[in-house]
C-alpha cells in the first residue's frame, strides 16, 4: 500500500473529475435545451484549445486577451454550428441527429490535425510558480487553478439557471417547448444560445487541459469520457452531470491505483469508465438524478 500515491491519485481524480463535470454539464445543457446528444463535445474542447494556443503563440497575445478572443470565437462557432447543421435536422429521428454530431466530430478533428498537426504542443507558461504543496502533496498550480475555474463555472451555471431571465427561458424550453413558446420564449434562440454557451464552457475546459497537458487531438477523448459521467448522473440533470464527472474521475484514478499496485494490467484505467458505463446502463439506465421516462399507451 502506497498511501501517498493513493492521496495523490485521489486529488488528481477530483481535479480531472471536476473537469469532466464541467464538460458533462455543457453536454447536458445542449441535451436538455434541444434534445440533441452531442457526440462532438470533445471537439469543442479541441477547437477551443487550439484557437487559444494559436492566439497566444502566433499572435503573441497576453493570456487574458487571447482567452477572451477564444471565448468570443467559440460563441460564434457554437451559434454557426447550431444554425447551419442542427437547425435543419429539427424533427428528424434521433439517429440522424446523433449521426450529424458524429460527422461534425470527425470533420473538426481532422480539420484540427490538418491545420495544427498531430503532435502535442505546449502552451506558453502562464503561472510563475509551477508547483505548490497542499497538505504535504505536490500539486501543479495549473491543477489548482483548474479546480477553481471548474467550481466557478459550476456556480455560474447555478446562478444562470435559477436567477437569470435567459436561464429560466432555457429551463422552460427544456420542460415543454410548446408551453415555453406560448409564453413568448423564442425556442430557436434558446437552441442557438445553448449551443453557444456549451461551446464556450467546453472551450474553457479545453484550454485548462491544454495548459496542463499540451494541446493535441487526445483532447477530444474528453468528449467520449463524458458519456459515463452523464449516464451515471442522469442525462438531463446538471447536478448529476457534475457528480457523475467527479465520480468517473475518481474511479479512473482509483482503477489506476489498483492497477499499479496489484493487477498490472496496463492501461486498464482508461477502459474502466466504460465497464462502469455498461453496468450502469444495465442496472439503472436513468442514472442517479435523471428523469425516469415512463411510457404509457
Amino acid at each position: 500500500m502506497d498511501l501517498t500515491l493513493l492521496f495523490q491519485l485521489t486529488l488528481n481524480g477530483l481535479i480531472v473529475g471536476a473537469l469532466y463535470g464541467v464538460v458533462a454539464m455543457s453536454f447536458v445543457l445542449i441535451y436538455k435545451a434541444s434534445q440533441v446528444v452531442n457526440f462532438a463535445q470533445g471537439e469543442f474542447l479541441l477547437v477551443g484549445a487550439w484557437v487559444c494556443w494559436w492566439f497566444l503563440t502566433e499572435w503573441q497575445l497576453p493570456f487574458w486577451l487571447g482567452f477572451l478572443f477564444t471565448l468570443a470565437f467559440m460563441t460564434v462557432f457554437g451559434l454557426v454550428l447550431q444554425v447551419v447543421v442542427l437547425r435543419p435536422l429539427i424533427g428528424e429521428p434521433v439517429i440522424s441527429v446523433i449521426m450529424a454530431t458524429i460527422g461534425l466530430g470527425i470533420f473538426f478533428q481532422a480539420l484540427m490535425k490538418w491545420i495544427f498537426g498531430v503532435f502535442a504542443k505546449p502552451f506558453p507558461p502562464i503561472f510563475e510558480t509551477e508547483r505548490v504543496s497542499v497538505l504535504g502533496l505536490d500539486v501543479q498550480t495549473v491543477y489548482l487553478a483548474s479546480l477553481g475555474i471548474s467550481l466557478l463555472i459550476m456556480l455560474g451555471f447555478a446562478w444562470f439557471f435559477t436567477s437569470s431571465k435567459h436561464g429560466l427561458a432555457m429551463r422552460a424550453t427544456a420542460f415543454d417547448q410548446q408551453v415555453a413558446q406560448s409564453l413568448g420564449v423564442s425556442v430557436p434562440k434558446v437552441f442557438a444560445m445553448s449551443w453557444a454557451i456549451s461551446a464556450v464552457v467546453s472551450a474553457v475546459a479545453g484550454v485548462v487541459v491544454g495548459v496542463v497537458n499540451g494541446v493535441s487531438s487526445a483532447l477530444s477523448f474528453y468528449g467520449i469520457k463524458v458519456f459515463p459521467a452523464v449516464i451515471l448522473g442522469g442525462l438531463d440533470s446538471i447536478l448529476g452531470a457534475v457528480l457523475g464527472g467527479v465520480i468517473i474521475g475518481l474511479l479512473e484514478n482509483w482503477a489506476h491505483y489498483l492497477d499499479s499496485q496489484w493487477l498490472n494490467w496496463g492501461n486498464m484505467f482508461q477502459i474502466a469508465p466504460f465497464y462502469a458505463l455498461v453496468l450502469i446502463l444495465l442496472l439503472k439506465p436513468y442514472g442517479l438524478f435523471g428523469t425516469k421516462n415512463i411510457e404509457r399507451v
Binding site: V37, V85, P88, L89, E92, P93, V94, I95, S96, I98, M99, A100, I102, G103, L104, G105, I106, F107, F108, Q109, A110, L111, K113, W114, I224, F227, P228, I231, L235, W265, G266, N267, Q270, I271, F274, Y275, L277, V278, L281, L282, P285, E295, V297
Partner: protein
C-alpha cells in the same frame, strides 16, 4: 424509407406471393444477372487496383448490410460495428490456426461466433433504445478494442495476426482476380438472404419494432427477442465481412477496427439509405470511392500554389476524414433517404419520360 416501386401499368397482383416477390419486374431480374455478369467479367478489363476497390466494396457492403438491418430496419443504433467486424476477422484467423479448420469453413463459423458476441453485447439492447443504446455500443467498441490489444492468444496482440488465404480443392484464392469471385459469391448470398429475411414474419416484426415499438408489442411481437435477434443478425453479417477481409488482406492488425471505422459503417448506411438493402451496397461503394476522389483531386492540385499553401499532399488522410464527415452531414441535411432514394427518383424519371407528371 419510402418503398416506392414503379410497376408497369396493368401489372396487378392477385396473390401475396406475387406481392412480396423480391424482383417485381422482369427487367429487375435481368438487371441483376447483368450486374453479376459484369462484376464476374471485370478481371478482363480492370487492373488489380480497381479489382481491390471492387473487393473492398463487396466486403464492406456485406458488413454495412448487417448494420442496415440493425439501424435501418429495426431502428436500433450501433456505434461499435467495426469492433464486431474485427471479432469476425480475428475469429476466422484464430479458428484456422488453432483448430486447423479449413478457411472456407472458418468464414461462416467466424460469422456465427461474432453473432454470439453481438448477442452478448446486444443484451442491453433489449432494454435500451435510441441514444442510450448508442452510448452502450460506444462502450462496446472501446471494450472490444481493449480486448483485442490485450488478448494475444486471439489476436496476436500488438503484432497482429497473419492469416492464410482461402483454398478450395487445392486452388488458392490469393490474388485479386480470384478472390473477387469469393466476395461476389458471399455478396449475392448475403444480400439474397437479407432480401428474403425482410419478407418473412421475423423481418416484418423487425420493421414493426422500428416503426412503433409499443404497437408492435401490443400485436404480440416480443420486443426483447427481436431487438436481440437484430443485433445477432447484424453481428453475423459483420463477422462474415470481417472474415472475408482477414483472408483477403492476409494480415489483421489490432488497430484497424477503431471508432472511425465504425463511423464509416454508419456513414455507409446513412449515405446509402436507411432501410434499403441495395442502398447498403451503394453506400459502401460511395465510402470506398470517396477517398479515391479526394486523392485524385489532391493529386490534380499537386505542385500548384494551392497545394503548397495548404499542405495538401502531406495531409491527405485528414482530408479523407473531413470528406467522410462532410458527406455524412450533407446527406443528412439534403438527402436523408440516401442514394437508394435518389436512384429510385432517377429510375422514375426515365420510366415516365417525357411525361413526368
Amino acid at each position: 424509407m419510402a418503398t416506392v416501386s414503379l410497376l408497369p401499368a396493368g401489372d396487378y397482383r392477385t396473390t401475396y406471393r406475387a406481392d412480396t416477390t423480391i424482383f417485381p419486374t422482369r427487367n429487375s431480374r435481368i438487371a441483376l444477372w447483368l450486374g453479376i455478369a459484369l462484376v464476374a467479367a471485370s478481371p478482363l478489363f480492370f487492373g488489380r487496383y480497381e479489382l481491390s476497390l471492387l473487393i473492398n466494396i463487396g466486403i464492406l457492403g456485406i458488413a454495412a448490410l448487417g448494420l442496415n438491418i440493425l439501424v435501418g430496419f429495426t431502428g436500433q443504433i450501433s456505434i461499435g460495428h467495426a469492433a464486431f467486424f474485427g471479432v469476425g476477422a480475428f475469429a476466422s484467423a484464430w479458428l484456422h490456426d488453432r483448430f486447423l479448420i479449413p478457411v472456407w469453413a472458418c468464414i461462416p463459423l467466424a460469422g456465427l461466433i461474432t453473432a454470439v458476441v453481438g448477442i452478448v453485447f446486444g443484451a442491453p439492447a433489449a432494454r435500451l433504445k435510441g441514444l442510450y443504446l448508442a452510448i452502450a455500443t460506444l462502450a462496446a467498441q472501446f471494450i472490444l478494442e481493449d480486448f483485442f490489444a490485450r488478448s494475444a492468444w486471439f489476436t496476436g496482440g500488438v503484432a497482429g495476426r497473419i492469416t492464410e488465404p482461402l483454398t478450395l480443392f487445392g486452388f488458392a484464392f490469393d490474388r485479386e482476380e480470384s478472390y473477387l469471385y469469393v466476395v461476389l459469391f458471399y455478396v449475392v448470398l448475403m444480400y439474397l438472404a437479407a432480401a428474403n429475411l425482410m419478407r418473412t414474419r421475423d423481418g416484418r416484426a423487425l420493421v414493426a419494432v422500428r416503426d412503433h415499438y409499443l404497437s408492435a408489442e401490443i400485436m404480440g411481437i416480443n420486443l426483447a427477442y427481436y431487438r436481440t435477434l437484430s443485433f445477432g443478425i447484424a453481428s453475423l453479417y459483420a463477422g462474415i465481412g470481417g472474415a472475408l477481409y482477414a483472408h483477403y488482406l492476409m494480415f489483421v492488425s489490432v488497430e484497424a477496427f477503431n471508432i472511425l471505422f465504425s463511423i464509416q459503417f454508419l456513414g455507409m448506411v446513412i449515405i446509402g439509405g436507411l432501410g434499403s438493402i441495395m442502398g447498403s451496397l451503394m453506400g459502401a461503394a460511395f465510402m470506398v470511392l470517396l477517398p479515391e476522389v479526394v486523392q485524385t483531386a489532391a493529386e490534380a492540385l499537386a505542385g500548384g500554389a494551392i497545394d503548397r499553401a495548404l499542405k495538401l499532399g502531406a495531409s491527405i488522410s485528414y482530408l479523407r476524414e473531413m470528406a467522410i464527415g462532410a458527406a455524412i452531414i450533407a446527406f443528412l441535411i439534403f438527402e436523408p433517404d440516401g442514394l437508394a432514394h435518389r436512384w429510385r427518383l432517377v429510375k422514375a424519371y426515365w420510366k415516365l419520360y417525357p411525361y413526368s407528371h
